[in-house]
């Protein structure tokens, strides 16, 4: 055992995989979670909770479709409320998954291998949650398909100048690519599960999904090329999706929206909240399923560093908004700044500054970066903060725009909260199922982290 613990990376900090593992221990440990670990009472109890939360969503949506968007707190002037806030928030969360799986893959950051699978799943579920809102927030959701450019007898196209149409393309592309990427990544592991299960029905299902994967050298060759290509395709999406989402606001003329800094600031914010969500999920899962060997402190610390970096970009964004409010000399922009600090929603803004800027600064200290408890709390705080950021942008900007006579207030209704909580329920339900029916960590990619994988490489180099 001792001979195998040598880690072939120069970095001798906390290893990305705990010492003592072999190909078979990895495979066993991960696949057993799916195949042989008994369904615990805790899992069932938790599932019941998150599943009922998801049903709250179904109720909220059902009532929404029957009655109309008037069940929410939106009004004139605040035409967008929780729906758009949640949409942007969920889309942002999804970003971490893509960043981890695609960009870090291209950058050969191998530490990503143990967290990319569930980060991608998280992306997918988050985008699914996000996708509900653009549909649900329309006044006549049964006609929302008019946003797609499809041939029709009216010979009528969507308005390609509208950022909402760009959104449709950006989000649907994003969802598709994420799904394909995730599925392709799963194929070798599905085959592993197929080979390891003893239940014939389970074997057939995994076999079907594994698409005839046999693990031949040719398979691997083509597979890795395809995976790299997909990573290349997904990489620009990390930047483009939230850029386009930010255009929803930046193209508008509302003070607080009409800002050129939005695209980078939104992307950074998205990654910020995405990594926070990764940590929020990884920390408990790691503990429950005993995966500390695979998701090590190194991973958590890296994620914390990414959060710190993106958080600073976001802070810069706030700073620039405030600066421009003063520097532009525009009475509307300077009022916007005043209103954020002193207006009726000032508590939200203060909370936002605390959650997104102040509190995460403790991540400079290693003590906090290596404490799972602290990390979890800080990540949660960042998630709240990023939600508040979208609330400030969407609601507070709309509540005070150009004409004093049209100033208004937004009070979320119980249906707003139910829809929001419901999407969290849906997200967690999907996660709950995911950890039990699919390998939550990529088995084959994790195996590449073992020294054995690099024996051949090392030999080649020597020759």
């Amino acid at each position: 055992m001792a001979t195998n613990t040598q880690i072939p990376v120069a970095d001798r900090r906390v290893p990305v995989i705990a010492p003592g593992h072999t190909f078979s221990t990895i495979t066993e440990k991960i696949s057993n979670i799916v195949l042989s670990r008994p369904v615990s009472l805790g899992w069932i109890f938790g599932f019941l909770i998150v599943f009922s939360m998801m049903n709250v969503l179904m109720m909220a949506l059902g009532y929404l479709f029957i009655k109309g968007t008037g069940i929410w707190g939106i009004n004139i002037p605040i035409g967008w409320g929780f729906a758009i806030v949640n949409f942007v928030w969920w889309i942002g969360i999804g970003h971490a998954g893509t960043l981890i799986s695609a960009i870090l893959c291209l950058l050969r950051q191998t530490w990503r291998n143990s967290i990319n699978r569930f980060a991608e799943a998280m992306t997918l579920f988050a985008v699914a949650c996000a996708g509900i809102f653009p549909l649900a927030h329309t006044g006549r959701p049964w006609l929302a398909y008019w946003l797609f450019p499809y041939p029709n007898t009216m010979r009528y196209w969507p308005n390609f100048r509208s950022p909402l149409v760009w959104d449709v393309f950006a989000v649907s592309t994003y969802f598709t690519i994420s799904l394909v990427f995730w599925f392709v990544g799963l194929i070798p592991d599905l085959a592993t599960l197929r080979d390891r299960t003893e239940n014939v029905w389970v074997q057939r299902i995994y076999g079907l999904l594994a698409m005839g994967w046999r693990g031949s050298a040719r398979h691997w060759h083509r597979y890795e090329t395809a995976y790299l290509l997909l990573a290349g395709l997904a990489t620009p999406l990390v930047l483009s999706v939230h850029t386009v989402v930010s255009f929803d606001f930046a193209v508008g003329i509302v003070p607080g929206w009409h800002t050129t800094i939005f695209p980078p600031y939104f992307v950074a914010g998205a990654i910020y909240s995405g990594f926070a969500m990764v940590l929020c999920l990884a920390i408990p899962i790691r503990a429950i399923y005993g995966l500390q060997d695979f998701i090590t402190m190194r991973h958590l610390e890296n994620a914390a560093k990414v959060m710190l970096a993106t958080g600073l970009i976001v802070a810069y964004g706030y700073g620039m908004e405030a600066f421009m409010g003063w520097y532009s000399g525009s009475p509307f922009d300077s009022f916007l700044l005043w209103n954020r600090l002193h207006g009726p929603y000032r508590l939200s803004y203060m909370a936002l500054l605390g959650c997104n800027i102040l509190i995460p600064q403790v991540l400079w200290l290693k003590k906090f970066r290596v404490s799972t408890g602290w990390l979890w709390i800080i990540s949660f705080v960042v998630l709240v903060g990023m939600w508040l950021e979208r609330f400030i942008i969407v609601v507070v900007s709309l509540s005070r725009d150009f004409l004093n006579s049209s100033f208004g207030m937004y009070y979320p209704t119980k249906w707003d909260w139910m829809t929001f909580a419901g999407t969290i329920g849906m997200f967690l339900t999907a996660m709950w199922l995911f950890v039990r029916i699919l390998p939550m960590i990529s088995i084959f990619e994790l195996r590449t982290l073992l020294p054995e994988s690099h024996v051949h490489e090392a030999t080649e180099v020597k020759q």
Binding site: N75, L164, G252, S405
Partner: protein
């Protein structure tokens, strides 16, 4: 029998929902805590923003149950409709008495002028407080849908007032009484006549000594003639008149001054200086307001001889907000000011030690013969007499002031008249009481306890004629449904005495009867129709060719030669005794007619209930209005519930802090707190009639106001009412004084961007035939709200109810923003009507993902309802926030009456669809089609938008910008023309003419000297 099912079931169904007083009590302390936690910025309307969470609103709602929300409560309304549908179906099975089976066949011979799809217009008259508003009514295939002013009538000149505009909704009100009832049970009309016959014949033998007729103000020559004929035949019978918004003081004042009752009429077109002694003469309800507004506004042109308006007032009004100088004083102090002015202009017999507002007097003296002093209806007789005397001394009589016969056919003192009736009732002298309209059980002076007198068995037979089963109807045995004026034949006099013919546009929907018919029953001459009665009166008074007279009168809408000629009266008053000063208590309490629902008669009119009141922009409620200083002293804030004590009675209401309200004075508005108004009006606001006695009909001392610690939501449609922000003032309404304007006429144009400030080449509209544009003269606008109701009626705009208004979801396409500027105790006020700006570079169009809002080649920002999916992005991006969204199914698609009412040229919107002002595109299309058929183009004057047409001030001009001679081009070329938020480069097609005030320079200097 079928009809009583229809009636009974819905009442039961609604009752189950409406009866919220039995619901559980809630903890207000927590709410208060919540409010304290979230104390907002020090803004006038700060509390408004703190209304808290959904739970809070729900709790408030339960704590202060509102009938209004039931209007919106879909369940109860649907339930009602379902029940109604079911009973209709049942009625169909058993055979309905009201709808005989008829065959529908096409016309063999098409009636003349009837073209389906083309409206016809008929002249008739709407009356309020007896005074007729001459109107033209648009009729689509015999369904009246829209009221317009009668442009040929001197009392209208095309303008209307809000009540006339909204009256069409009353016609189709599904809550109208639909049957003759006896003790609440349905009876037939014949059964009523049968029942009335016996008592009537008894009365015949007693010379009618037991008969009392109680009417509202009657100006109808026919009705007055009928009643007089009856009284001649039954000399012991008595005619009483009561109306809560009465003009007793006006007539008493005239008696004091001239020894006889006269009507005063003003010619504001010749008045250079106008002094209002608490007269709100620019708002509906003041007789002749439409005409006065027209004349006043025409003289607000700063390039011609601009007039100057001084307003001394006890309650901020829209007239006061237009004033060049406004003096807020307690109502009881107006007399002092009037005396000061009178003394200053040397009215004989008036001595005043105080200088008072002397410069106004100086101004008056400088404009002898071209000035006018107008006293308000609620001011004491002495003030009226003083006003007459001042006008007399200044030589205004015969120039700007005219005296005529009273328009009122029976100008008795209303309070006294009702007083003697109640005395007779209690003494058992009344056997038969016929109440023709009105609602005395609700609005009679409190000390008379009219309701209890009516309820007692002292009167044998009580018959009520009324449109609704209101509070009075509940207490009378017989209730006969009254025909709406659009269903009736009658006549009425306008403020100048001109008789208007009232002709029906539709058969009575529910077999309603008119007062004329009721009098014939009383007189035992049954069988005469309203038409015959009106004709028979005019046959006696018309010339030889009655047929031609009749046709002309009906066509024109008025009877030629009936305008009262000015009357020569001589001032008799030598002394002006001071009105007895009432003392005691803390504050003065003012009663005012409500700007929206008047005395309560329009309580069930959703358009008026939801009409934002001119200054407060409140809907669905009446507040306790106090000034800012008093509010500070009492530690009261917006929406705090206070207990108001006066006349030994207490009522609770929500406080509204009104800038410019005089100190130590409280104003409350009549008409709310109705219990039997209907599904819309019952339970809105609070009733202040219990505080109002015949001694203090308009104001009295001795009121107490105490905070209760409770709060109550008031639904105001405007966010902030100041243009100030903490980072500077926004130039939304541009204003200068006349002197400044003359120095710098272009003052408003600062923010205008350059024309070429765009990357894209703008569309060249000049090549098109039409290019529509609008200009609104802020100087002329008096904030009368007419345009809002006209727009609502023309464009089938939904009523949403209080709950939705609180959430900010009212649907008005056109709003009138009211802003204050200056000290809170006496600010300047501004009105700014805001329709869609129809921006050439419209921010809304860019962002709509489905191209549901697009630009037409004529420059209209069109809204395609069918294409709209409801993302609301357009509204978010609209800097003017003129877009309105159907968050729920706001339009009533089910009530059959409303189907009749709607303008067939305008889509009724469903839920999930954005809507907004279209510049009345249906009117444009109609005229365009007409023009194209005639191979011509729309000419200036052919086309008016609904707001423009109804505007009594002529403040709105709409037309073709490609026609160099169009009025709108002339206005837009004016120095005062500016774009709202022009710096955003939206290039709005609707522009404003900046406001210019004409303050007295001497007074300005004095005021600024005092300030420094």
């Amino acid at each position: 029998m079928s009809m009583d099912e229809q009636k009974a079931k819905p009442t039961g169904a609604a009752g189950a929902d409406v009866c919220p007083s039995k619901r559980k009590q809630l903890d207000l302390a927590t709410v208060k805590e919540q409010l304290e936690e979230t104390t907002g910025p020090e803004y006038w309307r700060s509390l408004e923003e703190l209304a808290g969470s959904e739970e809070f609103q729900e709790m408030m709602h339960r704590e202060f149950p509102k009938g209004a929300s039931e209007w919106l409560d879909d369940f109860s309304r649907r339930g009602f409709l379902k029940t109604m549908g079911a009973s209709l179906a049942l009625a169909g099975l058993t055979g309905c008495t009201r709808m005989p089976i008829t065959e529908i066949v096409p016309y063999v011979r098409q009636p003349e002028n009837v073209v389906p799809g083309r409206p016809m217009f008929y002249a008739t008259a709407f009356t309020l407080g007896g005074y007729a508003s001459p109107i033209l009514v648009e009729s689509h295939l015999f369904r009246p849908t829209k009221v317009e002013g009668n442009p040929q009538h001197p009392a209208s000149l095309g303008g209307t007032d809000v009540y006339a505009q909204a009256s069409v909704l009353d016609l189709y009100d599904p809550d109208r009484a639909q049957n003759v009832t006896y003790m609440g049970d349905v009876r037939s009309w014949n059964a009523f006549m049968e029942a009335a016959r016996g008592p009537m014949s008894v009365q015949k033998s007693m010379a009618g000594s037991g008969v009392r007729i109680l009417t509202q103000t009657v100006t109808s020559p026919t009705l007055a003639g009928q009643i007089r004929d009856y009284l001649a035949a039954y000399p012991q019978a008595k005619w009483h008149v009561y109306e809560p918004i009465h003009r007793d003081n006006v007539y008493e004042g005239a008696k004091l001054a001239f020894g006889e009752v006269v009507e005063t009429r003003y010619d504001l077109s010749k008045a250079d200086v106008i002094v209002s002694l608490d007269a709100d003469f620019l708002y509906a309800g003041f007789p002749g307001s439409a005409r006065y507004t027209r004349d006043f506004a025409a003289r607000r042109n700063p390039d011609a001889n601009m007039n100057r308006l001084y307003v001394i007032e006890s309650t901020p009004s829209s007239t006061g907000m237009k004033a060049d100088h406004r003096l807020p004083v307690k109502a009881s102090d107006v007399e002092r000011v009037a005396r000061d002015i009178a003394a200053s202009v040397r009215v004989p017999g008036v001595v005043s030690e105080r200088e008072g507002w002397n410069l106004a007097a100086v101004d008056l003296l400088r404009h002898k013969g071209s000035s006018v002093v107008i006293a308000g209806d609620h001011q004491s007789p002495v003030v009226h007499a003083l006003a007459h005397a001042i006008n007399d001394v200044l030589g205004n009589v015969g120039k700007t002031v005219f005296y005529t016969e009273p328009v009122d056919a029976n100008p008795v003192n209303r309070s006294e008249s009702l007083h003697s009736l109640v005395e007779d009732m209690r003494a058992g002298k009344v056997d038969l009481l016929l109440i023709l309209g009105g609602n005395p059980a609700y609005d009679a002076p409190a000390e008379l306890e009219f309701a209890s007198a009516l309820k007692s068995n002292a009167v044998n037979l009580k018959v009520f004629l009324g449109t609704h089963r209101n509070e009075t109807a509940e207490l009378c045995q017989w209730h006969v449904p009254e025909a709406h004026y659009l269903e009736s034949w009658s006549d009425a006099r306008a403020y100048d005495g001109t008789v208007s013919m009232v002709q029906p546009l539709i058969e009575p929907l529910y077999g309603g009867k008119t007062a004329h018919e009721m009098i014939t029953i009383l007189a035992g001459q049954s069988g005469l129709t309203g038409r015959e009665l009106v004709q028979s009166y005019w046959q006696k008074h018309a010339g030889a060719d009655f047929d031609a007279f009749w046709r002309k009168s009906l066509h024109d809408g008025w009877v030629g030669g009936t305008t009262y000629a000015p009357k020569n009266v001589t001032l008799k008053a030598a002394s002006f005794p001071e009105s007895p000063a009432s003392s005691g208590g803390d504050y003065e309490l003012n009663f005012r007619r409500d700007p929206s629902i008047y005395d309560g008669r329009f309580a069930n009119n959703g358009w008026l209930q939801e009409l934002p009141k001119p200054l407060t922009k409140l809907t669905w409620d009446n507040p306790i209005m106090i000034g800012p200083a008093m509010a500070e002293r009492l530690k009261l804030n917006f929406k705090d519930v206070a207990e108001l004590e006066g006349n030994g009675k207490k009522v609770k209401g929500a406080v509204w802090i009104q800038a410019g309200h005089p100190d130590n004075s409280i104003t409350v508005f009549l008409g709310y707190g109705r219990t039997h108004a209907g599904r819309v009006g019952s339970g809105t606001g609070f009733d202040v009639y219990p505080l109002r006695t015949s001694q203090t009909p308009w104001f009295g001392a001795g009121a107490k106001l105490t905070a209760t610690g409770e709060t109550y939501d008031l639904a105001s449609t405007q966010g902030y009412q100041t243009m100030e922000t903490p980072v500077g003032e926004r130039p939304l309404v541009q204003e200068r004084s006349l002197e400044e304007y003359k120095k710098e006429p272009n003052f408003a144009k600062e923010g205008e961007p350059r024309e070429d400030l765009t990357l894209y080449k703008p569309f060249d509209y000049s090549k098109e035939t039409y290019s529509w544009g609008m200009a609104i003269d802020l100087n002329a606008c008096v904030g009368c709200n007419n345009c809002i109701v006209a727009c609502q009626s023309e464009n089938n705009i939904a009523v949403v109810g209080k709950e939705q208004t609180l959430k900010g979801r009212h649907m008005h396409w056109l709003r009138v923003d009211a802003y204050y500027n200056g000290p809170r105790d006496n600010p300047k006020g501004f009105f700014q009507p805001v329709p869609c700006m129809q921006c050439e570079d419209a921010p809304c169009e860019l962002v709509c993902p489905v191209q549901a809002t697009i630009h037409s080649s004529e420059g209209l920002n069109d809204m395609v309802y069918n294409r709209c999916v409801g993302t609301r992005y357009c509204s978010n991006n609209c800097p003017y926030k003129v877009r309105r969204f159907n968050f729920l199914l706001f339009s009533d698609w089910e009530t059959p009456q409303f189907k009749l009412m709607r303008n067939p040229d305008v889509t009724v919107r469903s839920r999930g669809v954005m809507e907004k002002c279209t510049y009345c595109v249906q009117r444009i299309s109609e005229k365009r089609i007409d023009a194209e058929r005639a191979d011509s183009t729309i000419k200036e004057g052919d086309l008016q938008t609904a707001c423009q047409q109804s505007c009594p001030a002529n403040a709105i001009v709409f037309g073709n910008l490609n026609d160099p001679n169009s009025q709108v081009n002339k206005w837009k070329a004016h120095a005062r023309n500016y774009s709202l938020l022009g710096e955003l480069n939206t290039r709005p097609r609707t522009t404003y003419l900046a406001e210019v005030r004409n303050p007295n320079p001497e007074l300005e200097t004095k005021a600024s000297a005092e300030r420094t």
